[in-house]
Symmetry: C2
Subunit: 235 residues, 2 copies
Amino acid sequence: MEAKNAIVLLSGGLDSATTLAIAKAEGYRVHALSFRYGQRHSHELTCARAIATKAGVAAHVISEVNLRQFGGSALTTEIEVPKDRPLEQMGSEIPITYVPARNTVFLSFALAWAEVLPASDIFLGVNALDYSGYPDCRPEYIQAYEAMANLATKAGVTGSARIRIHTPLIRLTKGQIIARGRELGVDYSLTSTCYDPDASGAACGRCDACLLRLKGFAELGLTDPAMYARVEARA
Amino acid sequence: MEAKNAIVLLSGGLDSATTLAIAKAEGYRVHALSFRYGQRHSHELTCARAIATKAGVAAHVISEVNLRQFGGSALTTEIEVPKDRPLEQMGSEIPITYVPARNTVFLSFALAWAEVLPASDIFLGVNALDYSGYPDCRPEYIQAYEAMANLATKAGVTGSARIRIHTPLIRLTKGQIIARGRELGVDYSLTSTCYDPDASGAACGRCDACLLRLKGFAELGLTDPAMYARVEARA
């Protein structure tokens, strides 16, 4: 039987690399989609390419979209990325690293590609437990997106295959995500999670994303194989 | 009292020009948003610029997105645009001029800009009566998009102003749209509706979009002020 097509949104981070491995393990023919969206650094796209190549995806598209032209986030402007925030503070408010409507924009391109391929399965590595409080990572958002997607497209009119947004990580802790990825052979040294890496791509170890990632490895008693600029921050 | 911000999606066509005039007449401070998305011709962007300038908008952004990289439509590939289709056939099936997920992509950028401005009102000139049968022009799609948008953004978490997607044309015939636009002073000679204009920007008079537009002017006993390549096609 021919494998079903799926689109996997691949940022180059730990979560999306794990999500890609899960889609492959579920038997999908993976089409990876990344974005050059005006983010501060392109190191994550280098990682996305390496992850896609190692996984042997059917195709990998890097799409150019300019979210910088609207601003409003520390990830697309010169606003400073917050560092050393207590873990318990994360998720209680929407931080300045939130990029307005980013997941909505990314999913919309995935939907366009899905309709053409065709594919009816889209994978997104959002997580609602160990996360930064972004509105577009919550299960109720994903459900609403899926409902909209099925009205937006031919599938919604012709009654052909229903579009599904898969979020296999949404209820997992960071430690559980890493454990699952290791079972599936994900090489986390290829992933970049940091919001503010240095010119060499080394992670800062102090932004929300690094702190959550480090907590995940620590939960498993493991050392994160990613490169960090400050070894002392790895706790 | 300061005017409220609104985003108006402006393609440069008859419907979006009318929608912009309605948003202005309702007192909004209009921010127009157009896209270079890989469409066959850029004449509609020239029109969008002229319409935005004449209307005196607060800002006009033309965003670059590449929907051509996914293909699947006569408007973004070399697939031929259908001509001379009977009006009664339109709307009964999804034609090859449908661009997969186009309105979903465009609304997502509008949502990103709305969140930053901030604005909670987004105007879109979709029409479900005299239309080509696109799934993303239907009222049920717009309702689902609005529900999703309110979960996607800060507004959905903090309970601040609810995002509204305004579709003032959705239940109007093409003739009613033109009549409303004329009351508001819209100069339809600045608008481009044709799917397949010639190099000078002259409309073909034979694609679905031209035929629906010509029907609208004919309903009112008016002559369309736009430039057509074939005078004999103007009925």
